[in-house]
Structure formats: C-alpha cells, structure tokens
C-alpha cells in the first residue's frame, strides 16, 4: 500500500509538469501581450516594462525561471494588477472557490447517493421513475440555464434569497450557487448509484443475508458497500466538472473566486495570473484524482498495488 501510494504520488508529478509546460507555451505563443494597450506605450517605456518582468530574456530562460520559482511557491507578479503578486490574488480568491466547490461536492455526493439508493430500493415504481426523470433533467440542463432560473424564481419573484454576491458567506448567499453547481453532478451520481445498487441487491451474498432474515437496513448497508465503488471512481471526473462549472457559476452569482480571475486574466493576457489559476485548478484536480485512486485501492481489494 505504501509503495502504491508513493508510485501514484510520483505519477502525479509529470502530469502537473505537462500542465505547467503546455499552459506556459500556449500563453506565450499567442498573439498580443499584456502591455498592448489601446494607446500604445512609448518604446522606451515598453522596453523598461519588458525588462522589469524579464520578458526580454529568451523564452527557454523565462520558462526555466518560471519553473524554478513555481517550485518554491512563487507565482510571480501580476502583469495587469500592478503591485499585486499572483500569489496574493489567489490567496484572496481561494477561500470562496474552495468553500463553494467543497460544499457542492458534498451536496452532489450525499444528495446523489441518497436519491440513487431511494430509487433502487423501489425499482420500477412511480417514485423510482420520478427520481430518475428529475436526474435526467439534471444531467441534460446545463448549470448556466439552471442558475439564472433559480435567480429569477427565488431571488426576484419570491425574494427569499439574495441574487448574487458572497455577503458574509452565510448559508443564504451560498445556497443557490451551491445547488446550481452541484445539480448536474448530483444527477449523474444518482443514476450511477441506482444502477450499481440494483446490481448489488441481486448479488448472491445479499440474497444470503436476506435468507438469513437480517433487517433491511443491515442489508442496505452491505449492498451499499459494493455499490459505492463506481461512484467513488466517478469522483475524479466529477471534481473536474465542478471546477469547470465554478467558472460559470462564479460569474453568474458575482462571486470573487478563482474562476472569475481565470477568465479576467485570459481576456487581459495577464500571463502570470492565467498560469497561476490554471496551475492551481489543475493541481486541485490532480490531487483529488490521486486521493480518489488511493481511496479506491483501499476499498476494493481487487485493485492490485503493482
């Protein structure tokens, strides 16, 4: 188990390296730069700026320089938000995004599993069909349609919840963005749980438990243990989808998180800010995938550690 963990950790490193490299060169080879303003700067000023940010160095020197600093946790200065380092900006934005992302993930997992189990236990009943219909709607309707509709109904028409912003970070402000972000993943998890739970309930060892006359909740617990494995392996893609979705959700609900910085940085060609956000978000996804793999290996004895 220890060697497996170490090996997975080591295989995460090249992934992160690829991400940094691709993002770096993609950004640099693009036409336009951070100092292309509407009124062109004087050549002398431009030269000084480029020297100050080491943009006059050859590309490979810049690249190695960036890598070296990144390893030490230095994301460099922002080119557009003067006097701010990208590290500072990310630290300020991160709490919002992490809170939103984790609560959406928790909601997606618990809501999805509960709905899936509920439907599986009543297979082919009206309750099952209605849960699955709602899940299909959740999978199909994207969150940038759901979010404005939620805003319209609960914010404007009923006036129950604030339309946007983070406020004091209380539940009222967090509720709508969390639900809108979690809904598609919750629907996928519900469908997954239902089908694997139905399969698990038909398994031989569950039949034996039934025949032994064990109470329902014990049987469900045993069946759930096996049924949750596909759900766990889906958590990696789910986390990636949540990270992507948060870009839109943060925009719609005006939450000052990392997703907002990413779009802003890309549009302003703020090289370091874009790199910083991509590396941070990708890092999250990679680390999360790692955790999921480890959890899977720990739960499923059939996974070999070699």
């Amino acid at each position: 188990m220890l060697t497996y963990t170490l090996r997975r950790l080591l295989s995460a490193a090249p992934t992160l390296f690829v991400i940094v490299t691709v993002a770096f060169f993609l950004v640099r080879f693009a036409p336009g730069g951070p100092f292309d303003l509407e009124q062109p700067l004087a050549p002398q000023v431009l030269d000084n700026l480029r020297r100050a940010y080491s943009l006059d160095q050859p590309l490979h020197v810049q690249y190695l320089d960036y890598l070296g600093k990144l390893v030490r946790g230095d994301f460099g200065p922002s080119y557009v938000a003067i006097d701010f380092t990208v590290g500072e900006m990310l630290r300020r934005a991160l709490p919002y995004s992490v809170t939103l992302g984790l609560s959406a993930l928790a909601l997606a997992i618990f809501g999805g599993v509960a709905a899936g189990v509920f439907a599986a236990l009543r297979q082919n009943s009206a309750a099952d069909y209605s849960v699955m219909t709602v899940a299909t709607v959740g999978v199909t309707v994207p969150n940038f349609v759901v979010a404005p509709v939620l805003q319209l109904v609960f914010g404007l028409m009923l006036g129950l919840l604030p339309i946007g912003g983070w406020g004091d970070g209380g539940l009222a402000h967090r509720l709508m963005p969390t639900v809108a972000l979690a809904l598609p993943q919750m629907a996928v998890i519900a469908r997954l749980t239902r089908s694997s739970m139905i399969e698990a309930l038909r398994a031989d060892h569950i039949r034996t438990l039934r025949a032994s006359g064990l109470p329902g909740h014990v049987i469900i617990r045993h069946a759930l243990k096996g049924a949750l494995l596909p759900v766990i392996s889906y958590l990696g893609p789910a986390a990636a989808a949540l990270v992507t979705g948060s870009v839109v959700i943060e925009k719609i609900f005006a939450i000052p998180g990392i997703g907002a910085y990413f779009v802003e940085g890309a549009l302003n060609r703020d090289y370091t800010l874009v790199m910083g956000t991509v590396v941070t978000l990708a890092g999250f996804v990679v680390v999360f995938n790692l955790l999921v793999d480890l959890a899977y290996a720990a739960l499923d004895p059939r996974v070999r550690y070699d």
Binding site: P14, T15, V18, I19, V22, A23, L26, V27, A30, P31, G32, T136, V139, T140, V141, P142, F144, V145, A147, P148, V149, Q151, L152, L156, G236, A240, V243, T244, V247, V248, K251, I252, F262, V263, A266, L267, R269, V274, V278, L281, A282, V285, V286, N289
Partner: protein, 379 residues
Amino acid sequence: MTDGTLATDAAAAKPAPAGHSLLALAMRRLLRNRAAVAGSIVLALITLFCVAGPWLSPHPYDRVYRSYVAMPPSLELYPKESALAGAMGEALERARLAMADFSVDGDSFRVTLRSDRPIDPRNTRYIERLDEFADPRVVETLDEGRTLVVAGRVNRQLFLMGTDRSGRDLMTRIMVGGRISLLVGLLATFVSLVIGVAYGAIAGFAGGRVDNLMMRFVDVLYSLPFVFFVILLVVYFGRDFVLIFVAIGAVEWLDMARIVRGQTLALKRREFVQAAEALGVGTGGILRRHIVPNLLGPVVVFVTLMVPKIILLESFLSFLGLGVQAPLTSWGVLISEGAANIQSAPYLIIFPSIFFVATLFALNFIGDGLRDALDPRDR
C-alpha cells in the same frame, strides 16, 4: 399428400423467410423504444426548423428593427394600432413638420403634413425610415406646397417569439443559432471520432508496450482540466468558428480512444482476424477491413451521446463570451443574452432554452435507445 404439395407451392411462391440481420433486429428494438422514437422525431423537427427556417422567415437574422426593441412574443401583428399615430408623430417631429391629419384604413395610411414653408417631397424618407410604414408617396400638393398629403402602406410584421434587446427577431435568431450549435456539435464530434478511432484502434491492435505507452498518455491527458485549454486557445487565437470545433474535438477524443481500444483488444482475438492474418493481410488492411467496421456499434452509440456534450461545451464557451461573434449567434449566446435580461424580458431566455434543452434531451434519448438496441446485455 396434397398438403405437402401445397406447402411446397406456397414456399416457392414466397421468397424464403429471410434471417433477421443483426441490424434489422437492432432497428426493431430501437423502434420499440418510445423515448428514442420520440427523441428522433423531435430532433428531426428541430433540425428542419433550424435549417429551413431562416429561408422561410420574413426577417433576416441580423436585421435590426429599431421600432421594435425588446417586444414581447405575440401572435398579433406589429405595429399595434394604438402605436401608429405616435410613431408617425415622432417621424414628423424629426422632419420638423406638423401633422395635421392621420388616418389608417386597413393596411394603408394617409397623413397630411403642414409647414410654414413649401415642403420638400423628399421628406417622405423620414416616414419610410420607420419600420412601421412602407412606400410613402405624395398624393396631393396643396397651399403652394405648404401642405402635402402622403399615403402609403402599413408594414405589418409578425414576431412570434418577440425581439431581442437590439430589435432583432428572436425566432430567426434561434434558427440561425441552432444551425451553428448543431453544426459545431456534428463537426467537433467528427474530429474527435477520427482521432479517437484511429488512436484507439492502433493502440488496441498494436498491444503490448506501445498500447501501454499510448494509454498512459491518454491517462495523463485525462487528468488535465482540458476545458481551460480550450478557453485559452479560443481567447488567444481569436473566436474563429473553425478553431472552436477543432479545439473541442481535439479535447473530446479521449473517451472514444478508450472505448475503441477496449473493443479492438477483444476483436483482435477473434477467428476472422486470425484468418486474415494467416492470409497475409497487412496490419493496415486488417484495421481498415476488419477492426474498424466491427467497431461501428459502440462508436455510433458514443457519437450520439457525444453530440449533446459538445453542444453543451460550445454553449458553455459562448456563455462566457468566448463563442461565435456577433451578429452570428448560437444557442449558448442567446441563453447568455437572455440571462442578462432575465428580469425585464424573461422570454429571451425561455425560448432558446426550450430548443436547447429539447435537443439535448432528444439526443440523449436516442443515444440511450441505440445503446439498448445494439447491446441488449448492457443496460
């Protein structure tokens, strides 16, 4: 005995009952799936609506009607009777002329203009410029040209789904946006199909170390948050239509490669492949003649489920303002515009969303139906 001859006669008269091919059986299973059939019909109708609609629509998709900005959907013809006099008054005010008399009779109008000085008949241009009126012409000149009587047609138009914030017909824009969304979905799926099938078939057929290396590469790519790279590409290299679907297709081939590889591994051990090998058919030939055609089933299923995913991704980009550029539009752009005006004009988000969601539903139902039909084991 006579029974026997009769039976032979009947058999000779009718062609021998054909054995049901796999495809025919799959087709029959598909037709029995009501959701899939309904999905196909809805999809066909929406496609027809989007492809043929713009030619039949009386409004060009980029025509701005300045008189009808953000008009709610209505079955009645615009302009409304009550608004006509006001519109005419405004036009004449701009021309610095007084309106003495204004009457509407059916589809024609008659207006009397008055001024202190002789009126230039070219002033009718002020009336013509409005969207409400057409073909104004001077019918009578009185008072040495100080009074003109102008007659013309009332230009009646239908905006079934209303107009947007720039005064463009929403229904035509939904049709044109649908063309773009469906086209991006199909083209990007095609790109990912070609890459994915080629990559997966080669990896699966080569096997061993090559397969291991190729699939490890896919694993690495899998853990990248690829949407961000698509966004970067689109931001930096312009919002080119071609770039959008190439970028999306180049990102979405990973699932396809995995599925195709798994199938190829299984197919490789089948007798007909071994027979072809024994006959001396080259690797390329076996791939082309035997492997790829047999991959058709799972690939078709996957493609139908892929198109909605890509339409979703395209509208995601459009929603962030990174999609196709104005005046061209897509469903994502329309939904984004609707979301911005949700309080004042909710129909702007409702109508595009209905078409968008209906298309996604239809494609998902067809995909699920095809999966059940082609692979009855896996449900």
